[in-house]
């Protein structure tokens, strides 16, 4: 291999694409021509330095996630057609939905508590009909004591009597005082 041929083979040598025979001829050409060797070393040094520089400057903040910004941009550009909600963006339900769920649960709990509280109030505002007697009456008629306690007019007879004696004609008035019941 002549010196000119060796110069033309610089890239192949740099990329390690020389066959063993050509590699040997290349080395021999470098050994024969000190000027050629100097050129080769400069050429190789610059490329190696470039590679080393690139490795050194390699960004370490690879955890940077560009996806949210891309999703926002696509949502904006598409007028909201894409990436409309947080599920589509892969962000999960988010805090707002959790807060809504908690609020709903709280409302359900409050409603349940109020319902139970009203049952107690019904018994408290029914003068003349002690709770105990209602329970006994329910027990005597073979009903479950809990069912009897759920409403002062739980027994069919008492409900009928209550409706008949309502002055305003409001059928089903549940808080009718017991004194009107004969």
């Amino acid at each position: 291999m002549t010196s000119d041929e060796a110069r033309e083979a610089f890239d192949e040598a740099l990329d390690e694409r020389l066959s063993p025979e050509r590699r040997e001829a290349f080395e021999q050409a470098l050994a024969r021509d000190p000027e050629l060797r100097g050129e080769w070393e400069r050429y190789r040094a610059v490329i190696v330095a470039m590679r080393a520089q690139a490795r050194r400057d390699e960004p370490t903040d690879f955890e940077v996630d560009v996806l949210p910004a891309i999703q926002r941009e696509l949502r904006r550009r598409s007028g909201g057609r894409y990436y409309r909600d947080r599920f589509a963006t892969g962000g999960g339900p988010g805090v707002s939905l959790l807060l809504v769920l908690v609020a709903v649960l709280l409302c359900a709990l409050v409603a349940a508590w109020l319902a139970l509280h009203l049952v107690s109030v019904e018994h408290a505002v029914a003068p003349g009909v002690p709770f105990d007697s209602t329970v006994r009456a329910a027990s005597a008629s073979g009903q479950d004591a809990a069912a009897a306690g759920a409403s002062p007019s739980a027994t069919p007879d008492r409900r009928r009597q209550s409706v008949q004696t309502t002055p305003s004609g409001e059928a089903g008035t549940r808080y009718k005082p017991a004194k009107h019941i004969s």
């Binding site: 610089f10 890239d11 740099l14 990329d15 100097g38 050129e39 070393e41 400069r42 050429y43 040094a45 610059v46 490329i47 190696v48 330095a49 470039m50 590679r51 080393a52 520089q53 690139a54 490795r55 050194r56 400057d57 390699e58 960004p59 903040d61 690879f62 940077v64 996630d65 560009v66 996806l67 910004a69 891309i70 999703q71 941009e73 696509l74 550009r77 894409y82 990436y83 589509a88 963006t89 892969g90």
Partner: protein, 203 residues
């Protein structure tokens, strides 16, 4: 199911603008694209911006992907095109070299210069020499035109094959080789000029 079939089905999902598929695509490729763009532009803020633009372009123009290459190769091509446009834009605005890697790291420290030998330059302190050479090379890279820089990054930094580079740049393999040689020679010439070595006749 073959890998090609997998990719074909995945591309179909992207074409249907399947958001879950696109999310996966971005997560799988964002690091590599970001790294390439940083190396092409040398500016991390710009690189972040361009990386986002690349994926937005992919989302919009996935219908133009004809499946003649790997999806990742096509993505690289989109990224390289964005980088070229950004480099031209930055050059017009007079930016470039002065904004390259703004983290204050000075090549003169030579901390990672191990393995680099600047023997051809005849300096006594090889470690400092290597660091200095890296800094000079970095500056010289900034002065290259965008085509030379692209080829050098794809081949010498990203370590892609000539075939892959051809698929990304649209050049035939022989042209890639000859232009890469010219790019390397141009880089060497600029380095020698910066080092005060006149008579840059290494092409």
């Amino acid at each position: 199911m073959t890998e090609e079939e997998d990719e074909r089905q995945f591309v179909e999902r992207l074409r249907r603008r399947d958001e879950a598929a696109f999310n996966r695509f971005v997560r799988e490729h964002q690091d590599r694209v970001y790294r390439l763009v940083v190396r092409m532009l040398g500016d991390r803020d710009e690189a972040l911006d361009v990386t986002q633009d690349v994926f937005v372009s992919v989302f919009k123009s996935i219908d133009t992907f004809r499946g003649e290459s790997r999806l990742s190769t096509w993505l690289y091509r989109v990224a390289v095109n964005h980088c070229r446009n950004r480099i031209k834009y930055m050059d017009r605005r007079g930016r470039g070299a002065s904004t390259r890697f703004e983290d204050g790291r000075d090549g003169a420290t030579g901390a990672t210069g191990a393995g680099v030998r600047a023997g051809g330059f005849g300096r006594p302190d090889e470690a400092a020499e290597a660091g200095q050479l890296q800094r000079i090379v970095r500056e010289a890279m900034d002065e290259l035109d965008e085509e030379h820089r692209t080829l050098l990054v794809l081949r010498d930094v990203e370590d892609l094959s000539y075939e892959e580079i051809g698929a990304i740049t649209g050049l035939v393999e022989g042209t890639v080789k000859s232009r890469l040689h010219r790019a390397r020679a141009a880089l060497l010439r600029r380095v020698r000029q910066r080092m005060g070595e006149e008579g840059s006749d290494d092409e």
